[in-house]
Symmetry: D2
């Protein structure tokens, strides 16, 4: 408000340029986000009804729902019932959000909030949106990825009159059109932004800078989006408070360690039916993602080797019972190669040339550059698509390398993310919105904030009932001894 927002000019650069941002910048993404780029291919394993859809663009259809409104744009309104059931199934594993609904329903902490959102549109997102509405907010929503929308979920356009503009298989033009339809509506002006990847935030900055005068805060979910926000902040151009929910402990640990522990097995099985017992696997990178993958593979009887650049992570790998090697040392003997580095060209053409027949290669790290897939697009190699997401790359001598998801993230492309994990993210987003919307003047400046440790702990506590877990409470005497408040926070901010 006081500070004049002036970046409408700076940001009037070529949008095409901007949208290439995620790949252009040589940034380090040790953490994986569900949103790498708005044009990443995305195969929702839970989407069952898309194949029979017709080919007419939703933008060309005239759609009116049962209440007479046409303030939405989705693929097929007839799938509403099926979508509603998927939402109900999702609700069963998102009891933290339901519990939040109940706790905050009386006070309507989001009364008056007008939230414009841009995220993956799935059953789990629907549960989030309907929670926000139950807490008093009005919502308009578009998709942050052109492939990831579950059409059947968008179909019911949710309860509470939420306006959804999204379908699976949007063109890039459709993508920006949908975002625009969310922001640009007569008589309705957003005062909160929930973003995943920063595209919505960018669009508002570029097209509707005045909107920011009313915005109380941005909640950003992805590595990419957070990176953009920090850059804005550094450049002095961030004119509203923003909450980085990507780096909250609960999200990090679940999205990386635990979620990868579950999804690596699923992704490999669904694509290749490989037996894990006795397989020799090399995992490149022993950060949280690598740790999760290795724990699962070792537990199922695989023999796992690690490559690392960081001696501390390498030492952890040793103590955890893995041999730390250079990729070259084992590349001829391994059955599976998995990248989890956040780096690029970790698996090179030279490595691929030396792999044995039937070796499986996949990426759990970030983007699609960890494996140098481009190097495989040469005339002497034959590509054969044997199943969805599975290519055999065939060498002149007949050797086949099994490449999964063309080097994109295996767990996005070939496995599902447990609803419970998404519940943690969604709960964190909801709490961040509530915090920013209700914070007293002055608590948050025009900067990027981490979720306060105490709210991080609150998110965790909301998920404990799912496990029937019972927390111990400090006595007064103990709290004094530890120098802590009985209600937390219990750990310093840097605690992982």
């Amino acid at each position: 408000p006081g500070k004049e927002c002036s970046w409408q000019i700076q940001f009037a650069d070529d949008m095409q340029e901007f949208t290439k941002f995620p790949t252009k910048t040589g940034r380090r993404s040790l953490s994986r986000s569900i949103s790498q780029s708005s044009t990443d291919s995305y195969s929702s394993a839970a989407s069952y009804t898309d194949s029979s859809d017709d080919e007419v663009s939703p933008r060309e259809k005239q759609q009116t729902n049962s209440k007479g409104s046409s303030n939405f744009c989705v693929k097929n309104i007839k799938q509403a019932e099926f979508g509603r059931r998927e939402i109900e199934i999702a609700e069963q594993d998102m009891s933290a959000l339901i519990s939040l609904r109940k706790r905050a329903q009386g006070e309507k902490p989001l009364a008056g909030a007008k939230i414009v959102g841009c995220t993956h549109i799935t059953a789990q997102t629907a549960v989030l949106i309907e929670t926000l509405c139950a807490l008093g907010a009005q919502c308009r929503w578009s998709a942050c990825n052109i492939y990831s929308t579950q059409n059947e979920v968008a179909a019911p356009r949710l309860k509470h009159g939420v306006a959804v503009f999204a379908w699976k298989g949007e063109s890039e033009d459709d993508f920006w059109w949908c975002i625009d339809r969310c922001v640009n509506m007569d008589g309705w002006q957003a005062n909160m932004i929930l973003d995943d990847g920063g595209d919505l935030t960018h669009w508002v900055y570029k097209k509707y800078p005045n909107v920011f005068k009313k915005i109380r805060g941005i909640v950003e979910e992805s590595v990419t989006g957070v990176h953009r926000l920090y850059q804005l902040s550094k450049a002095g151009k961030l004119c509203v408070p923003a909450m980085n929910v990507n780096d909250s402990v609960t999200k990090q640990k679940f999205d990386n360690l635990y979620c990868c522990r579950e999804s690596i097995l699923d992704g490999l099985k669904r694509t290749t039916d490989v037996m894990f017992g006795g397989k020799q696997v090399v995992v490149c990178g022993y950060g949280e993602v690598g740790k999760g993958c290795c724990a699962a593979l070792k537990a199922l009887g695989a023999i796992v080797y690690i490559t690392e650049i960081d001696p501390i992570c390498a030492l952890q790998a040793c103590m955890d019972g893995f041999r730390v090697v250079k990729l070259n040392e084992v590349i001829r003997q391994v059955d599976v190669v998995i990248t989890c580095t956040g780096n690029k060209n970790v698996v090179t053409r030279e490595h691929l040339d030396r792999m044995k027949n039937s070796c499986i290669v996949c990426n759990m790290g970030h983007s699609n550059t960890e494996i140098d897939v481009t190097s495989l697009r040469t005339p002497e190699l034959t590509w054969e698509r044997v199943r969805s997401q599975v290519d055999h790359v065939i060498w002149p001598d007949g050797k086949r390398v099994v490449l999964l998801a063309e080097g994109r993230l295996l767990n996005l492309s070939c496995s599902t993310v447990p609803t419970f994990v998404l519940s943690i993210t969604a709960t964190t987003q909801a709490l961040a919105l509530i915090e920013l919307y209700n914070a007293p003047e002055g608590r948050y400046k025009q900067d990027v904030y981490l979720l306060p440790k105490k709210m991080d702990e609150y998110v965790a506590s909301l998920h404990l009932p799912s496990f029937d877990a019972h927390l111990t409470e400090l006595t007064d005497d103990q709290a004094k001894y530890l120098g802590l408040n009985k209600n937390g926070p219990f750990k310093p901010n840097y605690y992982r």
Copy 2:
């Protein structure tokens, strides 16, 4: 030969009666076989091309292959190319069989063998059949299950002029017609039988008892078929030697402990996307199947409880770190119930009534009677099919129980069996055929035999190269000390 085979009369009972055999007898099946009954529903996770098939019965089609022969009957001959690729993919994980092909190819140990087979017809079976042919045999084949045939694999009718009569979705009448077409051919008389479930053996006994005068042996794969053979033997009606390959150590350990360790996670994930971490699971039965399931679930962070009737298995469960409980004690709190007992009505309606909302119930044991599914077919409960193989059974108060595969075997219905495991079974079958076909007169009487320990060890040794495993050889001195032959067998027959 000397002994007159007289059971054509005894077996002239109603075939309908006979085919109900597997469910009629109150037999104990602690081991799971891929073939429970010829009419079990079977969902081949690897079958991708069936949905678009037309509805004309193959029996009514006129089919001629590229060589002008019409001595076969399959669904769609056009899928041959796709089927061939699936076979090639399978070959990559069945190197033991390929290795056997190479080793025995010179001597053609099955030269002159005319094998009639009745098994699941999958890519892996195709590799087996083509191996038998490479070793000199002629083969005619039908399916042991009306649902399990991978049409695309049957399509090429294999190399070597193998005659295949099978398709996915046969009627019961089709089923017996296909078997009959295999056995009953002018100018060709089988001298070996490879059976899975005993239906082929039964048909020959009943319809063509004279064929047995030429048969040198039967190789039987399944619990059910082996059970039938032992009953025949007991009744003095078995007039040829039979080899029970179901109880070989390699097969048992792989089919039960290791295979279940892999497939329980896969089956649960593909159907429900459940997160394993922190889930409370009760596994009924701690035999090999239960041990495999528990190992995998514990490794992925589930909290596992066991029910057992046998104090020795219960004590093993305790030592392995599981609480041993009665089902009633934990039924209200668990998230997943898995039966692995070989028993019936282990999960009763009373248990189902007490489960919490969203509890998942499935069967890894045998048949479809471990969970009392029949008790759920009552008017006050609503069944809702939410996905393939997934039903929500809804109580009047809204509680849902998630029932998988209608109580049939989860790993047959909802996951894939690793090719490597099938390779072990197929190699065992091939060796058993070679042994029976080449055995000197008198080695095998008209009885049921276990595969000699030494051949069991040979099967294992053929699979070691897949793991790049190097066996140690005994010195003469050591062999003498141990009282063993340097080439094995190394363990007594009862060793597991």
Copy 3:
């Protein structure tokens, strides 16, 4: 009775010859027994009071206990109080035996039994002996090993007037003198034998063959003793029934798999304080003992390699996630070498020459021949005793190999056996004695018997309350379906 016992003649061979028996025969001992040979060195980790003992032989002392009896011979009667406390501590972990005491106390099933025993004399044995007395038996006892006696336990000479003749550090002459004192007493003739190693049985056969006319049965605990009994039986010289309790399932599984899983870590830590995380370990042999060792080491972060001669065990090792190698392939790189083979000269001087500095070598298998320790007794190598049970063998270039327990069994020499495991053995012995003593005429012939499966299951069930484990009972309907008696046995005899 009917059959004349005639082996007094055959056994009048040189006793010196006989006592060398265990090492003389090139027998295969896949299972470990606590009793390898009566002259094995044995270091009881639980023996705290021996060091300050005087050097006068107990045989030369005049000892009279508080009741005026001198019908015993122990080291130091003054330790009685300390010994009593050790017995009470042991009782706490042997609740199965206490429970057996209570259950059978009323009926006194051993009333009239006069048991002569020869076993290790420890607190746990004392609990067994006092249980036998509580059930009605009279007992006289000597030690089966000249080193293993816990003097403080022998001191109180137990309750019930049990006569004990044993002390730590007997000479070989003392050893047979003690046995003789047990058997040869005026006015008291044994009618049951409980033996561990077969020395007592041999002595009676040789010296007092007439005693066998009254003996109702022998219960034998060790591999060696059981081997002797089978040889006698084979030779037609066994004139009383004998029970082989060594091969009962509960004992086997506990003594091997579970007990080794616990003791390998303990034995290595107490001797070398080695850190397990990241250590490269090669385990020779993947039978039950090897499986137990590997499970523990892998769980604590070691990288484990396996050597095997048997392809089936090798395949299990592969599936369990271990690389199967020849010892030569890894001998230069490993930090620890553990033998679990039952074989001899598994680790040769050549291997020892190639080990790296500080490599630890130990034996968990059998005897002291698995590592060729003799080959290290050459002039160019220096032996340095650095701690009890720990030798550094030093090569001319300064390389040190750390040899534990001089190649004898690590878990006997350097760790303790959990009381709970001993409880299982002791309970099995007690039940076997009761069974043989009470069996109706004709149930047991002059042969060697395995404990009936049902009693094996009973032993297991007596130990379940320690784990608060609750067995499920079959319904009548289920028992009928399975073809089982509701009270067991639940598994065939060959089940492991």
Copy 4:
């Protein structure tokens, strides 16, 4: 130098008061240090030769070593040879330090350094001290704990003329006398301090404040000492730079997670011979220490429950497969209770009253206040010392609770710390000394510093050769992509 050190006055408080410091302050010690307090009882498991020592105080003896010097004071100079061997054994597992010796030997980076040290005096410390000397330093040393000195190691007074003043069993007066002898020597003035617990630093501050004018830096190892330094710094009284090596990542991870994973099993086994399989254990606190304990216990077959106050750690426990409970819920059923909280009175008398017979209670957290041992010193309870470090506390009804180490740290009292872990700490100390001694003027102010991340990584890298681990190096291109220097640091400072 420029700043006048004025705290000699402030610190002229009662020394008795000061020495109670660690227990007086209600500080939170989430991390365990080997040094809790200078008067903690400490049982060095590796000390074998103390029992036979005479009772004359070393201060009263006239000792002269082989070179004629009497500038030292130890227990028994005759043990020198044994001590030298213990040092050589330690060197074998401290190859990082040996490697540091070699790398830095040419340049003598500590030439001119006069280091006064006060740490535990063990073989591992000896290796550190001799390394410092090899790098050019002169050293004088005393013990930071009156019980922990390994006399045989102190005996040789090390090479390089190091002066040692320490013996096992010092009085409190001896303790300060030894420190004083190190600092107060004519013609020798310290310019570096290596402290563990802060007592040496305090003594210098109090008695010889002028010494600080020459001191270039303090390296402090323990939680307690670091806490004192931060307090000084906060109060503006710290007049030299200090390095907090306690909080380096390598040390933290090893001392807590990995070290506890190893020592919990060892500590329990050595004291109670308990079998882990099937035991029900409750672990209070799921920080790094708790995580290490739980991982080991679960791996060995125990059933583990967790209590937690922090919802984030509780959620991690859930995902790792542990039930999170309140202590009251399970206290009646568990076999073992382990505290790892950093809190006090976690196990109260009420809990102890409700434990079942034979329940084992021990502390892995900090200090001796986690279990309310004081509450057990009441007349109705009988204490019985059954073994070293093991007390049975007996209730009037006969119930026994097995209390280990009187509630002090189990792994200090009853197990050994792997040399490898101590190597990491020692290497960190050596590097910190080199860094402070050689830092250019101005790099470090009068404040407390963490070891730079890069040096932390260097410590890790020095330990990788022990595991034969091979680091991968970044290409220029990759380093640019990640925005990193090819030589590190590779992670932000907050990375754990």
